[in-house]
């Protein structure tokens, strides 16, 4: 058994290294770097071993060269706040692994990630190269741990686990929203007190009395130490302000998602330097989000808030991220801001070193047929970790089957 396993690994490594071995240069591209470099025209980007190794080198040395013919090259888009790879069919319980009644703050769903999900290949059509997967958890206000996966469809898709702690704050169908906020504050206070005690115990050399913190306590401690972001879903302005206060009191690395009524407290969010992750097309009112509109992204950005975009819903519509960004542009956001909101800003919120085109960065790139936000454009080529991937999914196979003439029943068309 052991032998068999290691030979499999060797095989995997061999195949990986064979594809990695090839360095690629993309020339004559309009490169949207999402860095201070801005947009480079007639530019060359070289990638090798999964990273970007050169931009506009004096001489181009690569195993293969692709002439972009002036087309737009962007960082791969980054999805977030969804169940990609954890849900195949939302209403088929046996294909759902994003939630569990007993799931708590420690819930790490990355072990359930299925890189072969049809939703992954489909999402590549939208130029998505990686995704921050956020399980929906259980009864606890903590929904578990976010993790990062790429969209290669390969078994080594997981980029990072235990990336962020997920929290839901806000309206309750039973009970009061106040209790979750109170519990959260108490948890942070108690953990802080325990840490202080442990510290003084350590000083007094009473190490033997110090108890090893439990797993969930360790996670709270990591939040307190600013080691990982606390990503809180909240809509109402009062909830957002309460979270900002917690950030101030405990020096948290806070991110607010959904943020329906963020527009009402945009200045405070900007001042607190808290990024928000919003769905740009959410404009219908709820009691927690009476003031969201198609202009929310513009209002927030104008106030100085760092905004990232997400697509609402389970998973299957993730590919629409670029269109939702387009709607934000139609309502006042600049194309540069919109591109950052689906690349670098998402990555930054989760301390993920991706989403920009710069030397040393992950070679997740998309070459577009035209304007990446337009309905009429499409992905021409895409690379994940420097390896080219296509955008074909079973949807294409079904289309081809039913649009190909045959004298035999359709089932013979494959």
């Amino acid at each position: 058994m052991k032998l068999f396993k290691s030979s499999l690994i060797a095989l995997a490594l061999a195949s990986a290294s064979s594809v990695y071995a090839e360095s690629i240069a993309i020339t004559n591209a309009t490169v949207h770097t999402v860095t201070e470099q801005g947009t480079l025209t007639n530019a060359t980007v070289v990638m090798d071993n999964g990273v970007i190794t050169a931009i506009n080198p004096k001489t181009v040395e690569a195993d293969s060269t692709i002439d972009a013919m002036g087309k737009i090259l962007t960082p791969g888009l980054i999805g977030s706040m969804n169940s990609l790879g954890l849900v195949e069919v939302s209403a088929v319980s046996r294909t759902r692994d994003a939630s569990d009644k007993k799931a708590d703050i420690t819930f790490d769903a990355s072990t359930a990630f299925n890189p072969k999900s049809a939703a992954i290949a489909y999402s590549r059509k939208g130029g998505i190269t990686s995704n921050i997967v956020t399980p929906s958890g259980g009864e606890s206000m903590f929904k578990g741990q976010a993790f990062i996966a790429d969209l290669s469809g390969e078994y080594d898709s997981i980029v990072e686990t235990n990336t962020a702690v997920l929290l839901n704050i806000g309206s309750k169908s039973k009970g009061s929203r106040a209790l979750a906020l109170q519990d959260l504050r108490h948890k942070l206070e108690d953990a802080k007190t325990a840490l202080a005690k442990a510290e003084s115990a350590a000083k007094e050399d009473k190490k033997k009395d110090a108890k090893e913190p439990k797993r969930d306590e360790k996670i709270i401690n990591a939040i307190l130490a600013g080691e990982k972001p606390l990503v809180a879903k909240a809509d109402r302005a009062t909830d957002i302000l309460a979270l900002l206060k917690l950030k101030q009191d405990f020096d948290l690395d806070l991110v607010i998602a959904d943020a329906g009524d963020a527009v009402s407290v945009a200045a405070q969010i900007a001042e607190a330097k808290v990024p928000v992750i919003i769905a740009t097309i959410d404009n219908l009112p709820s009691f927690d989000a009476l003031h969201q509109s198609l202009k929310s992204a513009t209002v927030l950005m104008d106030a100085g808030v760092t905004v990232a975009f997400k697509v609402n819903g389970d998973t299957h519509n993730l590919y629409q991220l670029r269109y939702d960004a387009g709607v934000a542009i139609a309502n006042g956001v600049s194309k540069e801001q919109a591109l950052a909101a689906v690349t670098a800003n998402v990555a930054d919120a989760f301390n993920y070193d991706a989403g920009r085109i710069a030397v040393g960065k992950k070679a997740d790139l998309v070459l577009w047929s035209a304007d990446p936000f337009e309905l009429s454009s499409r992905v021409e080529k895409m690379w994940i970790d420097g390896v080219e991937h296509n955008t074909q999914s079973r949807h294409d196979a079904l289309r081809d089957r039913y649009t190909t003439d045959s004298s035999m029943p359709r089932a013979y068309t494959k």
């Binding site: 195949e88 069919v89 939302s90 209403a91 088929v92 049809a118 939703a119 097309i281 959410d282 404009n283 219908l284 009112p285 709820s286 009691f287 009476l290 003031h291 819903g313 389970d314 998973t315 299957h316 519509n317 590919y319 629409q320 269109y323 387009g326 709607v327 542009i329 139609a330 936000f373 337009e374 309905l375 009429s376 499409r378 949807h395 294409d396 079904l398 289309r399 039913y402 649009t403 359709r410």
Partner: protein, 460 residues
């Protein structure tokens, strides 16, 4: 108004008496009012408007560049080049596009309104599998802010349907997307009623989980057949009553049944079927079901697998209303293809429609249609904007039985018009002005023409 009905009855009786010369004494004929909640919609006062030099998609398959659209007295007066009219308000359409008002055949605005609240969750009478007796219009909350948002997206007409929990969910109603504080004030005059039916997973899940029929797809079919069988008997009883009465006899009227009234309305050809039905094999059976009981199986909604039976739909005159790309939320939505609408559309005599079923995407139905056009054209189709627009205008009007009134920019039709800032199939497209019956109901740059629901008024 009340006086009017008995006098009509008297007239009917006297006609039948004189025609048949029967001597038997007849009781007053039992007649039911088929329109007890009549439309009180009045077009907002309008002026003569001439949009100049726009790219016009007529909705009837034509594209006219640098064209003018003249609306007067609430109707389309003329579409063409170089028009002029006395006293018309001229709107500069240079660089802009004009289309018919957008029609959504599948909406739950008003019955599942925003804000989402139990108190307003009125779209599914999920108490028994056949609730043909309920009418969606009786659930519509006209203050749903979603109506205003949809208007800003160019929606001028929409059908509000009950949900899909039941085999027979009840009647749908077609509304003008104008602000009103009553449902009747929005009701599209003379539009036929729809009957919502549902195939597949939803009814069998809702009732199966309660251990009552239907719990399976065969249970669904049995439920439809038993209902239509009963409705056939009901119709026969009423037809006999009518015939006997006309023959001068004094028959006893059948007992009225509000549920069967709706099914009889379908059998009489007065009410159109709107069938939530995702899967190819189920749509094929629903077409046969209609033939079995002598009604037309109507429009299939959410027809994810319509592409598998595009020929069957065209042969039988069924419309299919589809999303461009929703999928995966349940098993019957797993086999989506992005070209679904285009494949259905490619058959002769087809009726392909893009619908929303969403308070969000109803605001961009133009873009939903655009997605289909571009994906299809990448895969061997050659669909032009002037054709793609029919999926959200004329074909939708056909499905709702109102194509003689709206859905295209043709002389004499209602002046339901959208002025777009650019090609409506761009992600950056926005409706700038929207007209219903020639009256401006929305202007992106003039707050005077931006209605606000009671619910949003004064909210801090």
């Amino acid at each position: 108004m009340q006086k009017f009905i008995p006098s009509l009855l008297v007239a009917a009786i006297s006609v039948s008496l004189s025609a048949c010369m029967q001597s038997e004494k007849q009781d007053e004929k039992v007649v039911f009012n088929k329109n007890p909640y009549p439309s009180t919609y009045q077009a907002i006062p309008s002026k003569t408007v001439l949009i100049k030099n726009a790219t016009v998609l007529t909705g009837a398959g034509e594209r006219i560049d640098n064209a003018d659209v003249l609306m007067s007295n609430g109707k389309i007066e003329q579409v063409g080049n170089g028009l002029s009219a006395d006293n018309a308000i001229e709107v500069d359409g240079s660089g802009k596009w004009v289309t018919p008002g957008v029609i959504d055949v599948h909406s739950h605005l008003g019955v599942y309104p925003s804000p989402s609240a139990e108190s307003h969750s009125d779209g599914n009478e999920a108490t028994q599998p056949n609730t043909s007796e309920v009418w969606a219009e009786h659930s519509v909350w006209p203050q749903d802010p979603g109506f205003q948002a949809a208007r800003a997206g160019g929606i001028t007409t929409l059908q509000i349907l009950p949900g899909s929990a039941n085999l027979f969910g009840g009647r749908g109603v077609t509304l003008r997307n104008v602000p009103s504080h009553t449902m009747q004030g929005m009701k599209f005059p003379e539009a036929p009623y729809g009957l919502k039916m549902a195939c597949g997973e939803n009814p069998k899940r809702v009732y199966g989980s309660r251990k009552v029929s239907p719990a399976t797809r065969m249970g669904n079919m049995a439920g439809y057949r038993m209902a239509w069988s009963e409705a056939t008997e009901y119709k026969r009883a009423w037809d006999k009553y009518e015939a006997d009465y006309a023959a001068g006899k004094n028959p006893e009227a059948p007992t009225r049944d509000i549920e069967l009234d709706t099914l009889k309305g379908v059998l009489d050809g007065d009410i159109l079927i709107h069938n939530h039905c995702y899967k190819a094999e189920e749509m094929a059976m629903m077409i046969d079901l209609g033939k079995e009981f002598n009604y037309h199986s109507g429009t299939f909604h959410h027809a994810i697998e319509a592409y598998k039976i595009a020929d069957l739909l065209a042969e039988n005159g069924n419309c299919a209303a589809m999303w461009p790309d929703w999928w995966g939320f349940k098993m019957e939505a797993y086999d989506m293809v992005q070209e679904n609408v285009a494949i259905v559309d490619a058959k002769a005599n087809s009726c392909a429609i893009v619908h929303s079923d969403s308070g969000t995407t109803i605001q961009r139905l133009n873009q939903e249609a655009g997605k289909v056009m571009y994906r299809a054209n990448e895969n061997g189709f050659d669909i032009k904007p002037e054709h793609a627009i029919t999926w959200i205008t004329l074909n939708s009007a056909k499905s709702l039985g109102i194509a003689d009134k709206t859905g295209s920019l043709e002389k004499g039709k209602n002046a339901d018009v959208v002025l777009w800032n650019q090609n409506p199939f761009s992600v950056y497209a926005q409706a700038e002005q929207v007209f219903v019956d020639g009256a401006k109901v929305y202007d992106r740059f003039d707050e005077k023409y931006q209605a606000k629901s009671d619910f949003m008024l004064g909210q801090k």
